[in-house]
């Protein structure tokens, strides 16, 4: 009997350390499925970040480097230039990519490095215990903004996808969400497109995935999904921010 749905070959058997309901697991699966479907699992090289997904190398069934905090795009640049035939991706959270690693991601994008970045944005620092991140929404309560993020003091959240899409080296930038089955399917299509963009050698590609952090948001997984839809989607609109793949056709 054919199996309709099973664990992709791109994931190992290791049980993840993520909290119950954390959507990192969904994004891991999407990346693994895409690598398998594109037939590039054997030549895929991931670069894991620092943050909740620091142990991603345990879960992806391909070669994975561990980068210093925020430096995944720099490491991926080296890997891709040394082995141009490989398919290189970074998997980063918002504390990693949008805070300490802003320089790396911006310059990797503007150089047009032929790598793919999967950017998981959950608007908070997860691993360190729920502090305010650059992507924390105005008014959002975190450990370090107990009265809500005050934009007079802490400034405004960064819309990473929009920022990266202004750079000429970026070829494909899309923001997706994993709050519903429909959006999970769209997220998979976006990740696939981003990897195709790299394989075709068009340029840098980034997919921002809006994600939930039930533990540090202090909500149940179900309430977190509602919070994402109600609060994050208005500030972080979904959609393709840049698509050079169409221009090159």
């Amino acid at each position: 009997m054919p199996i309709t749905f099973t664990k992709p070959r791109g994931l190992t058997d290791a049980p993840t350390h993520y909290c119950p309901g954390c959507t990192h697991g969904i994004v891991h699966r999407l990346v693994a499925e895409v690598l398998e479907e594109l037939g590039v699992l054997d030549k895929a090289i991931g670069v894991a970040p620092v943050g909740c997904s620091v142990l991603a190398f345990e879960y992806f069934a391909c070669d994975v480097f561990e980068a210093a905090h925020g430096r995944a795009p720099a490491v991926a640049t080296g890997v891709k230039r040394a082995k141009p035939d490989s398919v290189v991706f970074t998997y980063q959270g918002d504390g990693d990519l949008a805070a300490i690693g802003t320089a790396e991601i911006v310059h990797a994008a503007t150089r047009g490095e032929k790598i793919t970045t999967v950017f998981v944005n959950n608007a908070i620092y997860g691993m360190t215990g729920g502090q305010m991140a650059p992507t924390t929404l105005p008014g959002q309560v975190t450990e370090t903004s107990p009265y809500g993020r005050d934009t007079n003091i802490a400034g405004f959240p960064i819309r990473v996808s929009e920022m990266i899409s202004t750079l000429d080296g970026a070829a494909y930038v899309e923001r997706v969400s994993v709050d519903s089955v429909k959006n999970v399917l769209k997220a998979k299509m976006a990740i696939k497109r981003a990897f195709e963009c790299q394989i075709e050698g068009i340029g840098f590609s980034l997919v921002e995935v809006l994600s939930i952090c039930p533990t540090n948001w202090g909500l149940s997984p179900q309430e977190s999904m509602d919070w994402l839809r109600d609060h994050m989607l208005p500030y972080y609109p979904l959609g393709v921010k840049k698509d050079k793949t169409k221009e090159s056709e």
Partner: protein, 69 residues
Amino acid sequence: MAQVTFREDICKGCGLCIDVCPKHIIQFSERLNTKGYHSATVPDGDMEKCIACTFCAMMCPDVAIEVVP
């Protein structure tokens, strides 16, 4: 008959599969798994209502669900 299998010891009991099941047949098990969570399960007799849409598996963060049509 469609069949959904839960790897109960991988499940963390987040309940995301329960929310998306269009047939509302998934519920928390009364037993605790080895991690100490009430894992998701389909009660005896309800499995025949399953339509193998795979929504539960697509939302499962722990890839604990397998679906056969």
